[in-house]
Amino acid sequence: MMPLLHIDDLWVAYNGRGPNQPVQNMLHGISLSIQRGERVAIIGESGAGKSLLTMAIINLLQEGAFIRQGKIEFEDQVLNQLTPEALRLIRGRRIGMVFQDPMTNLNPLLTIEQQLVQCIRSHRRISYQDARTIALHKLRLVHIPAPESRLLQYPHQLSAGQRQRVTIAMALSLEPALIIADEPTSALDVTMQAEIMHLLNHLCQSNGVALLFVSHDLGLVAQHTDRSLIMYAGRIVEDGPTASLINDAQHPYTQGLIKALPQHSRPGSRLYQIPGQMPLPQQVGPGCAFAPRCPYTTERCLQQIPAPQGPGGHQASCHLLASDAAGDSHMGHTGGSL
């Protein structure tokens, strides 16, 4: 079966600041595919290139950034070769977006009704009344109390959680095949976060919508996604089913991330810490990006970029996994302790 979204060897770069400045690579050969109805998480620290990747998918890169190489296929179309007009038919209609900050995402000068109806009518030729009915229905779906009166209100009159629900309603209003949610809960509180995650997850599952979920929090996505991708400095270092990735992480970076969470150490004990910090994607050396912080670094790691290894659906990019004998003895098993 053809995947819904397939990205093949995507390189995104920024133009150099001056005339003689070299081009800076931000994404280094990203490959991924999402099946219909699948829920996928992209996890990484800030600056790893998560948001850049989502923006590249819908071709909303900011000025100076461009797709250097690679192909983004979505429903038999190559997104990065489409004209702006053709792209506009896909954005919103086939691919819905939920952004981080619901306040800056909604237009403060329009009522909720105007925004939702505008969004629906710009893609479908239907009457205002019909569009309003759809909008009302979507608002009910996201559990907004008293949706009729909410339609007449402006974004600032809603609470942060309700605003995010409206964005989700808007993303769902045209029945897209894929929803990209870029840190949809980081502006929200813990109790609201749980509710929004639950809602987003439930709606995508019941409507068969694929979900690409971007987050920095492994714990948050653990229960809500089928597959997770770990990004580090512009590369995907591990890709696997969420359960197997958490219980049996293969890449040293993933192992470190999981061990560093306070949830998994005894209260009061010292936490595992990954020394140093993530390099900027444009400053990565010739070898593995994680090599300077990795406890198992060898000469080869500094020289050569590792290729994804591993059985079936769970792959990690690490040299230690290739030389299996050495790999087994070096890499501790995190699975048991979790």
Partner: protein, 333 residues
């Protein structure tokens, strides 16, 4: 542990809305009152780490500022080591500034962008101990930098040349440089990435253990709380809901709000969790309902909850909760 260091007694603080646009000046309207902290009773004992948990807007930062004397309470009093410290004159406050220090949330805005790392640490040191010679002060600064894991070779750098982890280390070094006994930390981890969070958390714990510091730690991250806290105070809408030892709180949460918070905490398991326990939104602070602030979101709310504000009462194990349903036995404790 038994000696109280900081005591808040019935502390309240309110803010008033101001006209936000010029035309509002011409419309007569009574300023609305937002009560940020209401009749708060809390004691911090010497040598313990007390975590205050709550959602954004529940009054955590106001409380931190009240303790540090950056705000003055409207009612109630704050005692530190037996002395009353609210409404102190600037000069009298100085002695306490040295004994209590604060670590702020955003490591970048808390640093002066025009001071180098060295100057940033020298300034408080020389201000509080003017008798030090420059040589002695510099030596102390270098020691402090090494203690928090910053290479002293970075001494001539400005904050914008440091990474966020290094900046937060510098903030911690600055707070520790005057050798305080009490540290107020207002969300010191929330601006940091996961792998850096672990580094900073370890550093805070090490310093607390080595120097026998007392910590008042404000956060919304329950995993961090479970890791470092001796006792936990849960706040909702400016009031305390539950105050108990960390172990009891996580093993046996009593208050409906605490239970919902723990339920909402992201777990690193793939087994499905129940949905959120609380429905609805945090009520507007400007139109606070009578009675318990949780009444609209609480499944146990009854007529009494809508009219009477619950006060803290003690359980047999020393934990305290403010909930009518618990007190009347409508919820099994």
């Amino acid at each position: 542990m038994t000696q109280p260091l900081l005591q808040l007694e019935q502390v309240s603080k309110s803010f008033y809305t101001r006209p936000t646009a010029p035309y509002e000046l011409f419309r007569w309207r009574r300023p609305a009152r937002l009560s940020a902290v209401e009749q708060l009773d809390l004691t911090v004992y010497r040598g313990e780490t007390l975590c205050v948990v709550g959602e954004s807007g529940c009054g955590k930062s106001t409380m931190a500022r009240l303790v540090m004397g950056l705000l003055h309470p409207d009612e109630g009093q704050i005692n530190y080591a037996g002395q009353r410290i609210d409404h102190l004159k600037r000069h009298d406050r100085l002695a306490y500034r040295r004994r209590m220090q604060m670590i702020f949330q955003d490591p970048y805005t808390a640093l002066n962008p025009r001071l180098t790392v060295l100057h940033c640490l020298l300034e408080p040191l020389l201000y509080h101990q003017p008798q030090l010679t420059e040589q002695e002060a510099l030596e102390q600064v270098f020691q402090q930098l090494l203690a928090v894991g910053i290479d002293p070779a970075l001494g001539q750098r400005f904050p914008h040349q440091l990474s966020s982890g290094q900046r937060q280390r510098l903030n911690i070094a600055r707070a520790l440089s005057v050798k305080p006994e009490f540290i107020v930390a207002d969300e010191p981890l929330s601006a940091l990435d996961v792998s850096i969070q672990a580094q900073i958390l370890n550093l805070l714990q090490d310093t607390a253990n080595q120097q026998n510091l007392t910590f008042l730690f404000f956060t919304h991250n329950l995993a961090v709380v479970e890791h470092i806290a001796d006792r936990v105070a849960v706040m909702y809408e400016g009031r305390l809901c539950e105050l108990t030892s960390s172990r009891n709180l996580f093993k046996h949460p009593r208050h409906p709000y605490t239970q919902a918070l723990l339920e909402a905490m992201p777990q690193l398991t793939t087994s499905p969790q129940q949905g959120a326990k609380l429905m609805g939104d945090v009520p507007s602070r400007l139109q606070r309902p009578l009675g318990c602030s949780l009444q609209d979101r609480c499944p146990y709310a009854n007529e009494r909850c809508r009219h009477q504000v619950p006060t803290l009462f003690s359980h047999t194990d020393g934990g305290q909760t403010a909930c009518h349903a618990l007190q009347e036995g409508r919820i099994k404790p």
